[in-house]
Amino acid sequence: MSYPTPATSVKLVLLGEAAVGKSSLVLRFVSNDFQENKEPTIGAAFLTQKCTIGERTIKYEIWDTAGQERFASLAPMYYRNAQAAIVVYDITKPASFIKARHWVKELHEQAAKDITIALVGNKYDLVQDDDEGQGEREGVRKVSVEEGQNLAAEEGLLFYETSAKTSYNVNDVFIGIGNKIPEAASLASSPEQNNNEGRIDLSTNASSNGNRNLCSC
């Protein structure tokens, strides 16, 4: 193809325990901003952001869901026909990592078979040493890098540690996902098709498989 490719839409959903920083990650990605006291999300919030990766322009259509367990019954509507998911946990909160495991499992069981999933351990700034050194503040981190990497390797996920506060690695998550989403899949789901109801989009199912092993970490 010699003509410029039009922006392709990628439906993306954020999942993870309450207060791990889902909305903050989206805010950082979409507006390059951070709020010290981001309000809890009630229901879900929708945002979009374009992102250019090499030759391609991807328009992310992002559903930021509410993290509290009670809202879990609303989540399937958002991930059911998503092409990508970001499962977030807080590296200072072990319970949030357990919850992330559950989300990954649920996605594998219920979401589209070829969904691209990124596992993201957020709030990296909290474990960082103050004096810009490479070291980490001791005792703050509760989920090791290895635990995250292992889960990602087991389940075939992308893996990142991020900070919505310092913006560390945030864009990389979306670039990583964009790289992993096969061109065909994103082309197959034009915006119209995507927006059509919350039903399973078979066209995304049919395209591409076996990309799960391409872990960038």
């Binding site: 006291n37 979009t48 509507m77 219920q110 927006n195």
Partner: protein, 454 residues
């Protein structure tokens, strides 16, 4: 109709809802001192609700915490759900914490707000369904447009119902909505919701997915901004969507801007029109019951379908697991098989050699057996000769010594015998001589005779 005066709001809400309950208030004082498993989450969310970082009444934060925590203890099935804080904020601003608790309990139980927050959130789904049906009947065009755009009411209206519009909308409006809910029941929130959609119909019809969601999130009330502020409209929308909890800031901003204009306090929004328009929406109880029944059917169908799907998926998963297991087993068996075949081929190749070797070895063994027998028979002879040899060497010394000794003794005895014979013969000679002498003497007369004895 201008709503309940600010000073009496708290009291009137309590009176109308009949929430005043001394027993409950007393119980509250007891609950307040207990600890709840939801404490952390409540504290966390309170600190994230910038209402409290902005407001002068910071002490209300502690009161609000007490109320929400106590409710989580009072109703453990519901516990704490995000959204409750937003419901309770307008309450705590108008009454004491014990009264606030009592009214919250009343809203939850008597007004059935509880159904919205309970684990399956069935009440929320019912309300969304009723909203859809109402919208469909009031404006099929708008309803269809939204369906076409793939927008479901749960995507934007969940937060309206879960927080009585307090999540994203200005406090002035929220308080007026509370006035109506308390006096007319929870369903009246549907009137506000449908009215807002209808009043914004033209704008909504012109928008597509992304912009629709954006608009539905926090721009619906702009239509009720007082004409005098229309010039500032863009500015104020920015402000209210930019600041996190728009309950207070917007009323404040209206105050500051009105000083230049007509100076009607709190009249940034045409609240009376909002209420009047909303009340025109007719909620026929028969229709509502019909909707509820429909919903019940759909809900149950959906649920059994979901259960079925879950069951099937589970079975499917198990089967897939089994298949995988079988496949790996099969692969393993296949490998074993190949190995065994290979071994067999190897064996067949080496078998003649082995047979030859075997024959050679058998022969060798025969040979060896013969040798062994021969050796054995030799061995059985040699032991006796060797023993006699040993004896002939051991015994002779002794025996010869004995013999030598005996021979010596014998020689001595023989000598003695010879000597004795010589003595005897000498003695016999002497006797002869003596006899002759005797005869001579007897002839000459001798006294005795030896004759008889010879």
């Amino acid at each position: 109709m201008s709503g309940i005066p600010k000073e009496f709001r708290g009291i009137i809400w309590q009176l109308v809802s009949k929430s005043k309950n001394f027993q409950l208030e007393e119980f509250y004082l007891h609950l307040k001192s207990e600890s709840s498993i939801h404490e952390k989450a409540i504290k966390r969310d309170l600190s994230r609700t910038s209402f409290f970082t902005n407001v002068e009444q910071v002490n209300k934060a502690q009161e609000l915490f007490n109320v929400i925590k106590s409710y989580s203890l009072f109703d453990p099935d519901v516990g704490y759900t995000q959204g409750m804080i937003f419901i309770a904020i307008p309450l705590i601003m108008n009454m004491s914490e014990a009264e606030c608790f009592s009214l919250l309990v009343t809203l939850m139980k008597e007004y059935r707000l509880r159904d919205l927050f309970c684990p399956e959130m069935k009440g929320l789904h019912l309300m969304l369904y009723e909203f859809d049906r109402l919208l469909e009947s009031y404006s099929p065009v708008l309803y269809n447009h939204l369906v076409k755009q793939g927008i479901k009411s749960s995507m934007y209206a969940s937060q309206w119902f879960l927080t009585f519009f307090a999540y994203k909308f200005p406090l002035d409006i929220v308080l007026r909505i509370y006035d109506i809910i308390v006096t007319q029941g929870m369903e009246s929130i549907l009137k506000f919701a449908v009215n807002l959609m209808l009043k914004n119909e033209a704008s909504l019809l012109s928008l597509s997915f992304d912009n629709l969601l954006e608009f539905l999130k926090d721009k619906l009330f702009n239509i009720y901004v007082h004409e005098e502020f229309i010039n500032f409209k863009d500015d104020s929308t920015k402000r209210s969507s930019g600041s996190r909890f728009s309950l207070l800031p917007s009323s404040k901003s209206s105050n500051s801007t009105t000083t230049t204009g007509s100076a009607i306090k709190g009249q940034y929004y045409k609240l009376d029109s909002l209420v009047q328009d909303s009340m025109k929406i007719n909620l026929d109880p028969v229709e509502l019951t019909k909707y509820e029944n429909e919903f019940e059917n759909i809900y149950n169908n959906e649920k059994s379908k979901v259960d079925d799907i879950k069951q099937i998926k589970l079975e499917n998963g198990n089967l897939r697991h089994k298949i995988k297991e079988l496949e790996t087993n099969y692969a393993k068996l296949n490998m074993d098989h190949i190995e065994i075949v290979q071994e067999m081929v190897d064996l067949k190749v080496t078998l003649p050699d082995v047979i030859n070797d075997n024959e050679d070895l058998t022969n060798s063994i025969e040979q060896l057996k013969c040798d062994i027998q021969a050796l054995e028979s030799k061995m059985s002879e040699s032991p006796s000769t060797s023993t006699s040899d040993i004896n002939s060497k051991a015994l002779p010394v002794e025996i010869e010594n004995n013999i030598q000794e005996l021979l010596k003794v014998n020689a001595e005895e023989t000598e003695r015998a010879v000597n004795l014979e010589e003595e005897l013969s000498t003695l016999l000679e002497e006797q002869n001589t003596l006899e002759q002498e005797l005869k001579k003497y007897s002839k000459s007369g001798g006294w005795f005779s030896w004759g008889k004895k010879a």
